[in-house]
């Protein structure tokens, strides 16, 4: 009985924000953001591990809460409560209603990611979270926000694609896609290396870790603090979480791979520190710090991969680390935001940003134009001869029309005679 309640509570944690995301449902409710996170908060507080299996969802998936997850969930609750509080201040905003929807969708995705126990569930909810967060991020923003959003989106898409490939590799290796199983299964198969690199690239992109930090920094630069405070808690933390879950730590030593991660970590630290010191506006403070912090984390992960034995010694720290990272960043951003609240953002007079598609189209168009100019002579030559060719059948048809063949009674009868002769001759 208790089991059931626990299980159902898990379901509610995910479904409730989804429900609230529908405007009609929440239209009468005050404080939807806070309300939506409540079940999660309750579940964090409630003791006991539990899991909930949905055999009909996707290929059958399971959600569970245990000690590790509880850390992350707690962080999530905290960050979202903070965000909800921050967002509440902008209720007069005309976009409030829609923002709330995206807010809640992101929230639902986030919770799902945290609670998922297998790769598919993780991937699915991270997709929901990622794309909704895009909406949340850029809503009502100016051109710069939109640009940042677009950057984020591109990274997100690529990351998702790459992760999808990794996922497929995992699925083709093992039927069971739970983290633990996958970790073990992915060691020592022909596609291991491929899987590792895919997962790494995917999460590096997702989390905005060093060479892919671009979207993160520009997001911090332009997005209002009430949403920017989510950056740390949502994409970055979840990216790191994903890495921890997907990669086979503690199973096997991957020297090259681990070294690369280590190097990424180091580079990240260096980069973050450098930027911190050369370009440290108040607003960008969280950005550079987060890059530095993730760098540390990466370095640790890399070490764990190079020395699996070492990993087991600090494995238990990873989740609290991620949790604290999220909360810390959210708090930092919130504070800085509050401090800056009175000062409006400077308006950016950037060029009008167009659709990606049209942008690509422009390029193609330009290439086409230039080639056309160059090939013009050739083309006209070709066209001329084609027209001539085209006239030929026409002429044949005209030729055949009345004068020579069809209408010419005389010719026709001659044909008749010839035909008769021919028939007789052939019949011999």
């Amino acid at each position: 009985m208790n089991e059931d309640i626990h299980s159902i509570s898990l379901l509610i944690v995910m479904v409730w924000p989804l429900l609230l995301a529908i405007p009609a449902v929440r239209s009468r409710l005050p404080w939807p953001g806070h309300l939506a996170i409540m079940p999660a908060a309750v579940r964090v507080i409630l003791p006991g591990d539990s899991s909930f299996e949905l055999s009909w969802l996707f290929f059958g998936t399971e959600f569970a809460i245990d000690g590790e997850v509880r850390w992350i969930l707690a962080m999530t609750v905290a960050v979202w409560l903070l965000a909800a509080t921050a967002a509440k201040s902008s209720k007069s905003d005309p976009t409030y209603d829609r923002t709330t929807t995206f807010f809640l969708l992101t929230l639902a995705g986030n919770v799902g990611v945290v609670l998922a126990t297998d790769l598919v569930g993780f991937f699915s909810f991270s997709t929901l979270m990622g794309y909704s967060f895009y909406g949340l991020m850029i809503h009502g923003g100016n051109a710069e926000v939109q640009r940042a959003g677009r950057l984020y989106l591109i990274f997100l898409i690529v990351a998702d694609l790459v992760l999808f490939e990794a996922l497929l590799l995992a699925a083709s290796t093992t039927e069971d896609l739970r983290y633990k199983v996958v970790r073990q299964a992915m060691v020592g198969t022909s596609s291991t290396q491929f899987y590792l690199w895919m997962a790494l690239v995917g999460f590096v992109f997702k989390a905005g870790i060093w060479p892919a930090q671009l979207w993160l920094s520009s997001a911090f630069k332009s997005v209002p603090f009430s949403r920017a405070l989510l950056l740390g808690g949502v994409p970055v933390s979840m990216g790191l979480l994903g890495m921890v879950r997907w990669l086979p730590f503690g199973e096997h030593a991957f020297y090259v791979f681990g070294m690369v991660i280590q190097m990424i970590g180091v580079a990240s630290i260096l980069y973050g520190a450098l930027r911190f010191f050369t370009n440290a506006t108040m607003k960008m403070l969280p950005a550079w710090s987060i890059i530095t912090v993730t760098g540390f984390f990466m370095a640790t992960l890399g070490t764990g991969l190079v020395y699996p034995a070492l990993w087991s010694q600090y494995e238990y720290l990873t989740h609290p680390f991620i949790a604290s990272l999220g909360i810390f960043l959210a708090a930092l951003t919130f504070t800085i935001g509050r401090l800056q609240d009175t000062r409006p953002h400077p308006a950016f007079a950037s060029r009008k940003v167009e659709d990606l598609s049209l942008w690509v189209g422009k390029w193609i168009g330009a290439i086409r134009r230039s080639s056309k100019d160059r090939l013009f002579g050739l083309q006209s030559l070709w066209r001329g001869s084609w027209l001539k060719v085209k006239e030929q059948p026409q002429r044949i048809l005209d030729w055949g029309k009345p004068a020579v063949l069809v209408g010419g009674w005389s010719a026709a009868i001659t044909m008749f005679v010839l035909l008769g002769l021919m028939l007789a001759w052939l019949a011999r």
Binding site: V406, F416, G420, A424
Partner: protein, 486 residues
């Protein structure tokens, strides 16, 4: 009940009733329309009766005058004749219904007697087993058809009819010469007798040349099709339908019959020539049809192309006899129904808009939905798309051609279907759109619309009747007992 039906000489009635009807219509113009309708309907019943008779008693023989061949004339009906009679009756009834609404009083009194006489001639032709008698029926049919083609008296109609008449006479004389040679060579004009006696000799070859050329001219096989489009395009709609659907089939039937009975075994390479000409006809007729800007001409050229298909069976029949002939017969039957429907529908459009320029059809689909449907359904059969009689025919033909590896013919068959689609939809496409200039329109009687539609339905329905029809055509095994290739 059954015995009574089998005792009535339906075959003879099929000839005599329309004959008497034609004369009666001539005598009493006032009742012409009613009489025509009734008699064509009775014609349908008679064919059913004849079919019953044939199915229960086997092939139908009737020795006219009690003399029997070779002195007298024999009437003979097997499955092939029966089917031709049936299609004549059906199309004929459709044309009658249509005509009852089509003709004004003045033309009506002229139309009905001629029409019934054509019908009589057609029936007589399909029943005849005597090559000289065939000549006479051809003449009755031909002259009456010419008169009908010229009925409107317009410049185009007259010149078309004149061409038609000259071609007809030339063809008849050529045929008659062939008959003369056969008679003097083998002493008979009875097909069955001749079939036994004819041997390969200069006489036979010359007769084949003359008869073949004459009939090919009458059937309007390329390159002797020159007379057909003007004649068929300028005649009144029911007459065009009659000419395209039935009259050209009559001469084809004779050719087929003579080929099966007399010339086939001696034919030499003639069948190849027929095949080549048929192939060219398919392409040429279709291309010409595509080029036309006037609807009736388009339909007329389509006939040229479709006739080409009938001749494709000749080279294929060498080794796959029954199957190839089945295909040809099926194509002929479905073309008869479809083309009649098409011409009738065209007539409706012409009546409705006062013109038949394809580009100005002006939303016929909305305003004459039944007619447009008829045209479309007929088009489906002409194109050989399933489910339609045309499809079955083309299927059989393709099957034979492929089985023999006749790739040229395969390409022609497919290409012809594509081109047919081209010209049919050239019309239908315009039928949906609005013309730039609005036109006056005249009401079209329901009987005209329904006649066209029902015939078109018939063409479609034929697609589902392959099994019974093919078993009917097998009665009396007109195609001989050639083994069907697997």
């Amino acid at each position: 009940m059954g015995t009574v039906i089998t005792k009535i000489p339906w075959g003879v009635l099929l000839i005599l009733l329309p004959l008497m009807g034609g004369m009666a219509c001539f005598l009493w113009p006032r009742i012409a329309k009613i009489l025509g309708l009734v008699l064509t309907f009775v014609g349908v019943l008679s064919v059913v009766g004849l079919g019953w008779q044939i199915m229960s008693n086997g092939v139908y023989h009737h020795a006219v005058g009690g003399w029997g061949a070779p002195l007298g004339i024999n009437l003979y009906a097997d499955g092939l004749s029966l089917l031709m009679l049936a299609i004549t009756a059906l199309v004929g009834f459709g044309i009658s219904v249509y005509s009852s609404g089509y003709f004004e009083r003045q033309h009506s009194t002229r139309f009905w007697p001629l029409w019934l006489l054509v019908l009589a001639a057609l029936n007589a032709l399909f029943l005849s087993n005597d090559i000289f008698n065939l000549y006479v029926t051809l003449e009755v049919m031909g002259l009456a058809a010419v008169a009908l083609a010229a009925l409107t008296g317009s410049r185009d109609a007259l010149s078309g009819a004149m061409r038609y008449l000259l071609a007809n006479l030339l063809g008849s004389l050529s045929y008659l010469f062939g008959v003369a040679l056969l008679y003097h060579g083998f002493g008979s004009v009875d097909i069955t007798t001749l079939a036994v006696q004819v041997k390969g000799s200069p006489t036979t070859w010359a007769a084949l040349g003359l008869i073949g050329a004459g009939l090919v001219l009458k059937t309007a096989l390329f390159p002797l099709h020159f007379w057909l489009p003007p004649a068929h395009a300028s005649a009144p709609a029911p007459v065009s339908a009659l000419l395209s659907a039935l009259v050209v089939k009559a001469s084809f039937y004779i050719l087929l019959r003579l080929w099966l009975e007399i010339f086939g075994p001696l034919g030499g390479d003639v069948d190849t020539l027929f095949g080549v000409l048929g192939a060219v006809a398919v392409l040429w007729g279709s291309l010409q049809a595509l080029r036309q800007t006037r609807l009736k001409l388009l339909v007329a050229y389509s006939t040229v192309a479709q006739i080409g298909y009938l001749f494709l069976a000749f080279p294929l029949a060498m080794s796959a006899g029954v199957m190839a002939w089945n295909a040809a017969v099926y194509l002929a039957l479905s073309h008869a129904l479809a083309k009649a429907a098409m011409f009738l529908a065209t007539g409706n459009m012409l009546r409705f808009g006062g013109h038949d320029r394809i580009a100005d059809l002006d939303r016929v689909v909305q305003r004459l939905p039944l007619t447009a449907t008829a045209f479309a359904l007929a088009g489906v059969s002409i194109m050989g798309l399933p489910p339609s009689g045309g499809f079955i025919g083309k299927w059989l033909l393709l099957e034979v051609a492929l089985a023999q590896g006749q790739w040229g013919l395969v390409v022609i068959i497919v290409l012809g279907g594509l081109l047919a689609a081209g010209y049919v939809f050239k019309v239908l496409g315009q039928a949906f759109t609005q013309a730039a200039v609005m036109h006056e329109s005249r009401a079209v009687p329901a009987s005209m619309e329904w006649a066209a539609l029902l015939l078109a339905f018939g063409a479609i329905l034929l697609g589902f009747l392959a099994t019974p029809v093919l078993s009917l055509v097998g009665i009396g095994s007109p195609f001989g007992a050639h083994e069907v290739m697997p």
